[in-house]
Each structure stands twice: as structure tokens, then as C-alpha cells.
Amino acid sequence: MEFLDYTFMRRALLAGNLVGVIAPLVGVFLNLRRLSLIGHTLSHVALAGVALGLFLGFFPVYTAIIVSILAALAIEKLRRDYRDYAELSLAIILAAGLGLATILISASRQSVGIHSYLFGSISLVGTRDIYMILPLALVIIAVILKYYYGFFYLAFNENEAWLAGVPVRTLNIVFMVIVSVTVALAIRVVGTLLIASLITIPVAAGMQVAWSFKSTIWLSLLFSLTAVNLGLILSFYYNLAPGGTIILAGVVILLLVLLVKKIWFMLRRDL
């Protein structure tokens, strides 16, 4: 447990575990609504927010949160207005975000720092990041608990949720805001390029073996936290990029889950 002797590593583990909880929690609802591309789009927009922060000299996570919330609200509006072409609006916002990010990065003198936001950096998780991630992560968890069955209904059948008295429009906006904040907060740990995977992969593994909606959430959390801790510890000992190590750990978990499931079915068939 040598890694726990280092302050930066303790901070990274705290930030990592908080992100490791909110990413799959939001991810379960996002993936079941077949909106996982939104996570991908918002991560590119968040990069533009980071670049804007670096360019203007603000703390980049602040600007990333604001820019991705604005983009998320725009996506929600486009998703309603162009129901049949939802992917098109995502592709446009993704491209615009990336274009803006590229220009701002090249215009900014601090372009060296962008590397840590692209791939994540454990040594750079500061106290300021913790003060930011901790309260916002708790708020996200509280919002999801409060509207649990509302989000559940939206995921199961968005068109008919109003029949049960679910405030569809309000909850959709609330949901988009928490997705964008989650994406922006995860930047420090896994980097903008890999956030979407942290939202998707643990949930994909959880869905393979879940027997209910609640169990999908618990299993996704288990797989996500395993991947985050394994990834961070391995990246400490072998000096690897933390984002990539976390995601690859997640992929290995997913493959193991698929393998165990396959063996289980084969054994059951033979019995």
C-alpha cells in the first residue's frame, strides 16, 4: 500500500472514486436511453471549455462545466425539435466543440497543459479539484436518488412517462445538466477523450449479468470502481496514463464478464 503514502495519490483516488460512482450512475440511464453518443459529444465540448479556461486564464474545470451545460441544453432542444435526426445534431455539436477547442488551444500560450486534460493526470489532481468534485458528485447522487423512478420511466419509455405523472421536460433538462457536469468533473481523472468510455463500459458489463434495474446500477458501480482503483494503482506503479489504464481495466472486466456468462450458459445447457 505504498501508493497511499503520497498525498497526490490519495487525492487522485478520492477524485477517481467519486467520478467512478457518478459516471456509471448517470451512464445506466444514458445508455438505456440509447443516448451514449451524448456523453461522447459532451466530452468534446468540455474540451472546448477547458481550452477556453486556459485561453482566458480561468480554472479550466469551471469553464468546462459551464460550456458543457450550455451544450447539453442545446442538445436537449435539438433532440426535441429534430426527433428523427437526433444523431445529426450530436455530430454537429461534437464537430463545433472540437473545432472551437482546436482554435483555442492553438491560440493559447499554455497549450502544454492541455495534454493532462486530454488523457487525465493523477499527479495534477489538486485540492481545488477535490473541493469541486466532492460537493458536485454528492449533488448528482442526491438528484438521481430523488428522481430515481422518474429517470427509470424516461429510460423505459420516454413517450409514455407523462401518463404516470412524470414531468418529462423538466426531468430531461435536469438529466442533461447532471450528465454534462459528470463529464466535466471526470476530465481530471480520465481525460476528455476517455470519459465516454467510463460512462459506457462498466454499464455494458453490468447489463450483461443484471437481473433487475437496481442490480444493473449496483453491478455497474462495482465494475466502475474496480476499474478506477485498479487503473490508478497500476498507473502509479508503471507510470502509465491513468485514463487509458482505467479504461483498459474496464474493458478487461467487460471481457471477463462476457466469458463468465458464456461459461455459465454452457454449463447450464449441459446439466
Binding site: Y149, E160, W211
Partner: protein, 248 residues
Amino acid sequence: MSFLKVEGVSFAYRKERVVDDVNLELKLGDFAAFIGPNGSGKSTLLKLILGYLTPTRGEITLKGQPVADIMDWTRVGYISQQVKDFNQSFPATVREIVGSNLYSKMGLVKFLNQELEKKIYRALELVEMEDFINRKIGNLSGGQQQRIFIARLMVNDPELILLDEPLAGVDIRAQDDFYRIIGKINQEMNKTVIMVSHDIQVISKHANKIICFEGGRAYPHCSQEFSYDDYMHELRRTNLRIIPRHDH
């Protein structure tokens, strides 16, 4: 006082009249069947009664109250034609699916408590599916899923039940089960039911009112004017169009 009253209701969609001056009255405990060819206005009238669409003319009242003023949607239970179009691999149990409809009855934090769990169990008992409470929805047959959706609707104890072609793609045995359960809800619980159907032969055995639709107009009590054979003959003769004998 009539339970449900539809007075001179018209509805136009892009200037085309889909529902045309419909008048209709149902008593508490009625089982009404809406029959007629595709595009004759049956489903649209159902959506107007539900309050999902607003009539361009006329008024619909439920127990004397205009449906537009009803804020508590759970008073009217509705099963749409699209109810079966959900992701079959969605990882949710029967308990979670039925429970989600209790959203408006949940407290500040939207979770199920013991009292709501009891409601879920009773609704499942009603459709004889209580043993399936922990099963995944996608692992059930089409007929079983249909019964779960009835339970999901009944969990809120609605006053009026609207069913839009619930039997499309369901096999004969499951259809019998479905009618038996709807019959129980209609007769023993005295709930008013409106069901859209294509199968006049079967539904006329269960419903006490048959309302025929043609070109947006409704012809109440057409079964009293038409015998079943007459009706089928007219359907065949007019290439699946209904020609009522009298305009009411």
C-alpha cells in the same frame, strides 16, 4: 349523470378532419368497443378522451368535469398501440415496471415504500401474474407482457380504462386470458372500459356497447342495427369500409 360524455367533438390534423362531430355517452361500468377501419378516427378519439389531444370543437367530460381540467392523469389508465415497442433487453423486473407507474404517489424521494409494494402485488394478483414479480420483463411472452401492462395501469386504480388495439399480435389463448381479466375488471370492479379493436366477432361477446367508426364519424349502437353477419357482409362488400344504415 353520465360517466363519460363526448359532445360534438371534432378534431382536425393539418386541416384534415380526423374526428368529425362525435357524440357519445357512457355509463359507469360500461364496456364500449370502438371498431372500424384504419384511419377512421378511433385511436384519435381515444387520445382526445385521454386529454392528450385537445378537440378543435366540442367538449369531453368525465363525471361532469372537462378532461382538459383533469390534472391527475392516473385517473385514466391507457394502453397505447406502441406499448409493446420497448427495448426487450431492458434490464427491469416486473416489480420495477409496474411500480414506475406509481410515480405520482411516491413521496419526496421517488422510491417504492411498503405501501406501494403492496399495491404492486395486488395489481399483479389481479392479472394473475404475482409469481412473476421478480422476473425480467423481456423474458416474458407477449401475452404475459400484455397482462403486466394491465397491472401497470391498474396499480393506480383508474376510473376509466382506455385500450388501443391491445390484442394485435397476441395469440388466441392469451386473448382469452386478456378478455377474462378485462371482464373481471369491468364487471367485478365496475370499471368503465373502452377498447379499440378490429375483431368485432370476439369483442361483441364481451362489450355491452359497440361503436362503429367511419371517416371520423361515430355510429353508436351500430350492433343493434346490424347483425354480425350483416356487418361482415358490409365489410366485405365495401372493401373493409363500414356503411351504417342510419345516421344517428
